[in-house]
């Protein structure tokens, strides 16, 4: 009576895919997650999380009005990154710092000019930074020290005193010449977008089928396990790739992030990564069978590790050893690293292929468990 036979049927797969696409198109939340959320996220990460410290407000308590002090102050004022703010007393300095109006301060003692003129190296400045924000504190310290060294070099040479430093340090940022952190953050955030679509959205739609009883109905038909798995993978893979291209376009056109790599490599690496997160999402939903639990679980083992351990916002190199190790278990670091490379540097074969290798291993790992856990019955 039935012509379908007992093997894998392309027709059934096509029917299931069509159903899935219709559901995606008709469900506003899928569209929201796949197309609106990525753009919002890019803008958030691109503009709200800014690791650059452009023009820090720094206080200046000058207790010396001498010639040399004035010269150093003008050197500070000339700096493009410091917004100098004169302060009259120790007390008001303390107050302004406490109120977070200042990120740091420079104090010149009243014997500053005199000591510079004597020229025995006794002249010193005091740099105070707000340790409440270590990142900014480091910047403040480094900037002011830089200015001080340049200035004192010039002045000590003038006075022919041997404080000359043997090495002249010039910082030059390669690959991201203007050191805009956005160029580094945006490619990484594409990894987060794909984690949300691949793991979160997929796990929720499968869990929804369990909750609404449609999964039970599907399982009672002559459907095959492979058809069932592919019917979830194909639509959400397509959706993930579409979102990835949307991010690429928004990043390069609206946000001016440079793209130096090849689209083909980007697709290959993205496919591998989507494989990992889709596997993770399918596994979570198969195990939880409930939308709320599926969402919580993906947040916990998908989204948060991606965000924190993926090397997107926080550099992996500066993490403690144990976290660096854990980060290797999640696919995000390999993908985020590849993205950052492809966007900023271009194609670096060793790096990309190493990442691809680890992604393939993780993909097999997640799909392996998923395939084992997915059954054609309710057991």
């Amino acid at each position: 009576m039935n012509s379908g036979g007992s093997g894998f049927s392309l027709r059934r797969l096509r029917a299931l895919n069509k159903k899935e696409f219709l559901q995606i198109v008709r469900d506003p939340s899928s569209i929201l997650i796949a197309f609106i959320l990525p753009v919002v996220m890019l803008f958030f990460i691109g503009y709200a999380i800014n690791l650059d410290t452009s023009r820090v407000r720094v206080g200046l308590l000058a207790l010396d009005g001498g010639e040399k002090a004035k010269s150093f102050i003008s050197a500070l004022q000339a700096s493009p990154v410091i917004d100098l703010y004169p302060i009259l007393s120790q007390e008001s300095l303390l107050r302004e710092m406490a109120q977070k109006k200042l990120r740091g301060a420079v104090v010149l003692q009243n014997d500053f000019s005199a000591k510079v003129i004597i020229g025995q190296g006794g002249a010193a400045i005091q740099v105070i930074a707000d340790g409440g924000e270590p990142n900014t504190a480091n910047f403040v310290q480094a900037y002011i020290m830089g200015i001080w060294q340049n200035w004192s070099l010039a002045h000590s040479q003038e006075n022919a005193i041997k404080t000359t430093r043997p090495i002249d340090i010039h910082t030059r940022a390669w690959f991201n010449p203007s050191a805009i952190s956005r160029n580094f953050l945006i490619p990484g955030s594409i990894a987060i977008v794909l984690t949300v679509i691949g793991a979160m959205l997929t796990s929720m739609v499968v869990a929804r089928e369990w909750e609404r009883g449609t999964m039970e109905a599907l399982l009672s038909t002559p459907i095959k396990k492979l058809e069932l798995l592919l019917s979830k993978i194909i639509p959400y893979y397509t959706l993930g790739m579409a979102a990835m291209f949307l991010c690429l376009i928004v990043a390069t056109t609206i946000m001016d992030v440079p793209f130096r790599g090849s689209i083909l490599i980007l697709c290959v690496i993205s496919t591998l990564f989507l494989g990992c997160v889709l596997g993770m999402g399918l596994l979570i939903s198969t195990v939880t069978r409930n939308q709320f639990n599926a969402a919580s679980a993906t947040l916990l083992i998908g989204f948060l590790p991606a965000m924190i351990l993926g090397g997107i916002v926080f550099e992996i190199a500066s993490m403690p050893l144990i976290l660096r190790f854990i980060s290797r278990l999640f696919p995000t670091r390999y993908y985020a690293n590849s993205l950052q490379t492809i966007f900023q540097t271009g194609f670096v074969p060793e790096l990309i292929w190493t990442n691809a290798f680890f992604l393939i291993i993780l993909m097999f790992f997640w799909f392996g468990i998923t395939a084992k856990k997915t059954k054609r019955n309710l057991e």
Partner: protein
């Protein structure tokens, strides 16, 4: 008899639980309609899933069409049509898209598909709605579409899991007609239900309780064991609830309910009639033998219902309403109207409920009975008109009115993770009971409802009947003068339902006014009066006997409540 499904000593146990099915043995005849009947948790769904090959038996033997449904599922799936609860439809797909999907999955192609679609769409009356999303269909239409999707591929075995749940009698009757016609073609049908009246229509029934089959026979022979044991007390003078209470004390009586103006009794043995003298039925009362029902057989098999006294009613004081209040209008609807956008869910409804009356709201799904109910207990604000409770307009002082009423929601909205004790503490707390009074009240509820053994158990893990007790306890702890019950007994076994109604009858006798919604037609007959709501309008209002009298015809001189329901709704349709 050719056996289509054979089950022997079947056991199914889920990890960490007592067996869901234990020692089940049954043979299902080819081409028959078999009812799997029992309360929630009896094991109906588990048995159907085992037959569909969706679960693996823990022990025992099961063969469907001579094959093992779990191990040989590849060969069997095409021959089995299984409709799970909630029908398995994709709500964001249209009727035709759902059909196409299942046709593809069940390998129904080309001309065969067109032919089947035409037939099923005509059959289900869905031809006009092919483009409508399944989620936008009424409950009855969803049920029919679910059936149509299951029937694609013309299975030899049709397994239906509670297709009638939450669906009104009209849709249920319709579905029966469809399945009947199909089964004529040699299809073997298993139909699970918790409605015993529905099961009476099957060729044979398996009565299930707590994972076991209590009886397996034709409805006729099950009922025939009850012949001569079912009685009506008619021409009653005085309070029939008191009468029922007295009658249940008689040693001959194993079960009793109110049925309209009469009291219906089931005796332990044929001919052993109770003495009407001490029962206090009045001089005109008579005992008349009536037709047995399947429910009588079930209750008898479960050992009868023994709850004559409501321990709850014994501890609550007589309700005294303020003397200046109209005792005939404890609950009142005045031109009550609710609109959602352009849709009028309740349209100028008027009624008054007397003190101590049990008032039933009946109607098909989506007819507006829930909306009306929710406005009367202050959960929804009327668009027009007034909902009054003890003379207080719920719109003006909802919290003052709410303190007076107890509310028991559908599916017993208890806090699932909280223990029995914590649930009681919480609900008494939100109704303002504190300190010694609260402690005393909680203790009293634990005694009254025999909840002590469950004290530390989370309410999610309680058996359904105990959940129901707890929900009632939570609703009445603060001593409300009015009680609102929204489908309070759906899914609960008949013995637990009897116990529940004993409490409600007891409360009504103490002067508590009760408003109840239900899909059970026999339960409707426990009410003093019934309001039948359809398309937002009150289409009939009266005692159960009034309503039945309205639909008497020559062909049907003795209509049931269900007949009355269906006929009155149909008449409203014709207008």
């Amino acid at each position: 008899m050719i056996t289509a499904i054979e089950v022997k000593s079947l056991q199914k146990r889920f990890p960490g639980q007592s067996p869901a099915l234990d020692q089940i043995s049954v043979n299902i005849a080819h081409g028959s309609i078999t009812g799997l009947v029992g309360p929630d948790g009896a094991g109906k769904t588990t048995l159907l899933r085992l037959m569909a090959g969706l679960l693996e038996p823990t022990k025992g033997y099961i063969k469907v069409l001579g094959m093992d449904p779990f191990l040989q599922c590849d060969d069997l799936r095409a021959d089995i049509g299984y409709m799970p609860q909630k029908f398995g439809l994709y709500e964001d797909l249209s009727v035709i898209e759902n059909l196409n999907l299942y046709a593809d999955l069940r390998n129904v192609l080309d001309s065969e598909r067109q032919r089947l679609f035409r037939r099923l769409l005509t059959f289900t009356d869905l031809t006009k709605f092919t483009k409508r999303y399944a989620g936008k269909l009424s409950g009855g239409m969803k049920q029919k579409l679910g059936l149509a999707c299951t029937l694609l591929g013309t299975p030899k075995i049709l397994l239906l899991d509670e297709p009638g749940v939450g669906v009104d009698p009209i849709s249920r009757r319709e579905l029966w007609r469809m399945v009947r016609e199909l089964a004529g073609g040699g299809m073997t049908v298993l139909w699970s239900t918790s409605y015993l009246d529905e099961a009476e229509l099957c060729d044979s029934v398996c009565l299930m309780n707590q994972g076991r089959i209590v009886a397996d026979d034709t409805p006729q022979s099950l009922k025939s064991t009850m012949r001569g044991r079912c009685l009506h007390i008619t021409n009653i003078q005085g309070n029939r609830r008191n009468l029922l209470k007295q009658a249940l004390r008689a040693p001959e009586v194993i079960d009793g309910v109110i049925q309209g103006a009469n009291v219906r009794l089931v005796t332990a043995a044929v001919g052993a009639y109770p003495d009407l003298g001490p029962v206090g039925a009045g001089p005109t009362a008579r005992l008349v033998e009536v037709e047995p029902r399947l429910e009588d057989a079930f209750i008898s098999l479960l050992g009868g219902s023994s709850s004559a006294e409501s321990a709850l009613a014994a501890v609550i004081p007589e309700v005294e309403l303020p003397p200046d209040m109209n005792q005939d209008a404890v609950i009142e609807a005045k031109q009550l109207t609710k609109r959602f956008g352009k849709f009028t869910a309740t349209d100028s409804v008027n009624f008054r409920v007397k003190k101590g009356e049990i008032f039933g709201l009946l109607g098909p799904n989506g007819a507006g009975k829930s909306t009306t109910f929710k406005m009367e207990c202050g959960l929804l604000k009327p668009t027009n008109g007034q909902a009054l409770v003890m003379g207080i307009d719920l719109k003006e002082s909802p919290s003052k009115a709410r303190q007076r009423l107890g509310y028991m929601a559908q599916k017993f909205s208890l806090y699932r993770q909280l223990t029995v004790e914590k649930n009681l503490a919480f609900f008494s707390g939100i109704y303002g009971l504190t300190g010694e009074r609260q402690k005393h009240k909680i203790q009293q509820m634990l005694d009254v409802f025999s909840l002590h053994p469950y004290l530390e158990m989370p309410s999610a893990d309680l058996p359904l009947g105990i959940k129901q007790r707890l929900a009632l306890a939570c609703a009445v702890m603060h001593g409300p003068e009015l009680l609102f019950l929204d489908e309070p007994t759906s899914g609960v076994d008949p013995v637990a339902r009897r116990e529940f109604w004993t409490h409600i009858n007891g409360l009504a006798n103490k002067g508590v006014t009760v408003m109840v919604t239900t899909h059970f037609m026999d339960e409707a007959e426990y009410c003093d009066r019934i309001a039948l709501v359809y398309r937002g309008k009150l289409i009939a209002l009266g005692t159960p006997d009034d309503l039945k009298r309205k639909v008497i015809t020559k062909e049907n001189p003795n209509p049931t409540m269900e007949d009355a329901f269906i006929k009155l709704v149909r008449e409203a349709d014709d207008e």
